[in-house]
């Protein structure tokens, strides 16, 4: 049984159809990178899987259980955690409280384990999240998601708005996440970084999956073509 099965997912923003019949399947330990231009539907797909956006059709199955219409907090308690685009931290809450807030499932990610994986949080534990740098805030957002002990971790636009140094700091935690066996879906604009981090790559264009496959089997050119819609009928 797959860890995650997304079947024929459709989602709308009002009258606009943001996702058309999106399907994907992930096994435990897979790392899927989703690439695509702005407006491709990547964030809507992530939010739909996380329960933060209600799909208009299709199903999301986690370990075979249909979680499509469950509220977001029940997705979290079943093991799906989203690091949302823009981080969505609580500006007036300290880092320590933010991490403790999310401790709703038992597992390998304890408070200490999260700090070990994200050591940049140690000196700022008692500072309010709103007073941190972009890189530190992203680390808090990842730490908050890890505190829920996810089986499936959704990372939306990890590097957006961060300096190169901050991006390095955030990606330094990736090997630790992978070694913990966490299944990851990563939305990333940096194609090189995405393909290096992932076991599978999926390219989206205008709400549709236009290319998908194992990272080692796809060339950078094929992904680039799909990204810009040059082979949109080839998927």
């Amino acid at each position: 049984m797959s860890l995650l099965d997304v079947k024929g997912l459709q989602a709308r923003h009002g009258l606009l159809v943001a996702l058309h019949d999106v399907s994907l399947s992930l096994e435990a330990g897979d790392v899927l990178a989703i690439v695509g231009a702005n407006g491709a539907g990547k964030t809507t797909l992530m939010r739909s899987i996380a329960g933060a956006h209600k799909p208009s059709a299709g199903k999301v199955l986690l370990n075979g259980e249909d979680v499509t219409n469950l509220p977001a907090h029940k997705h979290v308690r079943r093991g799906i955690a989203l690091v949302p685009e823009g981080r969505r931290l609580f500006p007036d809450m300290t880092v320590k409280d933010t991490l403790r807030l999310a401790a709703c499932r038992k597992g390998t990610w304890s408070f200490d384990a999260v700090l070990e994986a994200l050591p940049q949080l140690l000196p700022v534990l008692n500072r309010k999240a709103g007073h941190l740098s972009g890189g530190q805030q992203q680390a808090v957002a990842i730490g908050r998601a890890l505190m829920t002990n996810p089986e499936l971790l959704l990372l939306d636009e990890l590097s957006l708005g961060l300096s190169p140094v901050a991006v390095e700091g955030v990606y330094d935690a990736m090997p630790r996440l992978k070694s913990a066996g966490t299944t990851i879906i990563l939305v990333e604009q940096d194609l090189r970084r995405a393909m290096a981090a992932a076991t599978h790559v999926m390219c989206m264009l205008e709400g549709r999956v236009v290319l998908s496959g194992r990272a080692g089997e796809l060339t950078r050119e094929a992904v680039m073509d799909a990204y810009f819609g040059l082979n949109r009928h080839a998927a």
Binding site: A50, G51, A52, P71, A72, H73, V76, R77, A81, L82, P84, R88, L89, F90, P91, D92, M93, D97, T98, R100, L101, A102, C104, R105, R144, T148
Partner: protein, 298 residues
């Protein structure tokens, strides 16, 4: 020395206003709901307490202890039946719904208890009039108890919000409900808990109202105004703003009353209006002001 005495009485009166305002402010902070039934629910709390201790033949204090869980339960019902559905329909609907609830509560109380004024003074013995004499100053024991209760409620609330998991959940829900859900927080349950907690505070305020004066089924309106004024005067930024707002309102009323009895309420309203105008003048208009007011507990 009269001035010092007036300031002291104003300070103690402010404790009552802070106690009255805490539930209103808390509910607004968590859910952005201005509960127009706040005063009427405080009066309802006073009536429930009176019915409990007179029917069971127990002390008013025991009646208070039994009334508070009833108020918490009413908070759950209020949230599930009125606030939760109306919150889905935009910011105006909860305002109208709680206004309707205030009218309903007032009229049900009137139909059950009639227009007679009620009070606990006769049942709480010496406490209703005893005071400590410190030189030329007189310190009412009851008002001191109410002030201490207000401080304890606000202090307890601060500990709850800052040190406990439910407190973190309440703060997260108040700051960003969507993000709170993504952190695993069941925000609906959190809102129900917050409503129950707010109603416990309303119940305490109702008990204080009955102990320090009289009440009748239509006494809720003025109590709502005092609570609202204390919240606005207290301003933004900290939990203790509610206490400061209450104290400023209490002192304004007492000083106004010392000049002329008719000035008691006008002085309070004047301070409220002045503070409101200054805050609005700092920019952003009423919407901006209430957005910042929402953050007072977090």
């Amino acid at each position: 020395m009269d001035l010092l005495n007036d300031l002291l009485q104003g300070l103690l009166l402010g404790g009552y206003y802070a106690l009255l305002a805490s539930g209103l402010s808390f509910l607004f902070g968590v859910m952005r709901v201005i509960n127009l039934a706040h005063g009427s629910l405080a009066v309802l709390g006073a009536f429930i307490m009176m019915v409990i201790y007179t029917t069971l033949g127990i002390s008013p204090l025991a009646g208070l202890a039994l009334m508070l869980p009833v108020m918490a339960l009413l908070g759950v019902v209020l949230q599930l039946l009125i606030l939760e559905p109306s919150l889905k329909s935009g910011p105006l609907v909860p305002l109208l719904a709680t206004f309707g609830l205030a009218l309903f509560t007032d009229n049900v109380l009137f139909s059950v208890f009639g227009a007679d004024t009620q009070g606990f003074a006769a049942d709480i013995g010496d406490l209703s009039y005893n005071s400590w004499s410190i030189g030329p100053l007189y310190v009412s024991q009851l008002d001191t108890l109410i002030f201490a209760t207000a401080v304890a409620v606000l202090g307890g609330l601060q500990v709850l919000l800052s040190k406990t998991q439910i407190g973190r959940m309440i703060r997260a829900t108040a700051e960003d409900e969507d993000a709170a859900r993504l952190s695993g927080v069941d925000t609906r349950t959190v809102r129900v808990c917050a409503s129950a907690l707010a109603m416990v505070m309303v119940g305490l305020a109702g008990a204080a109202l009955g102990a320090r004066g009289s009440f009748d089924p239509y006494a809720g309106g003025p109590q709502l105004i005092y609570a609202f004024e204390a919240v606005v005067i207290g301003g933004t930024g900290s939990l203790w703003g509610t206490l400061i707002g209450g104290v400023v309102l209490g002192i304004a009323q007492t000083l106004g009353g010392s000049i002329d009895t008719h000035l008691t309420e006008i002085a309070g309203h004047t301070v409220f209006l002045a503070v409101l105008i200054v805050r609005l003048g700092r920019g952003g208009g009423i919407g901006s002001y209430f957005r910042t007011l929402r953050m007072r507990f977090v």
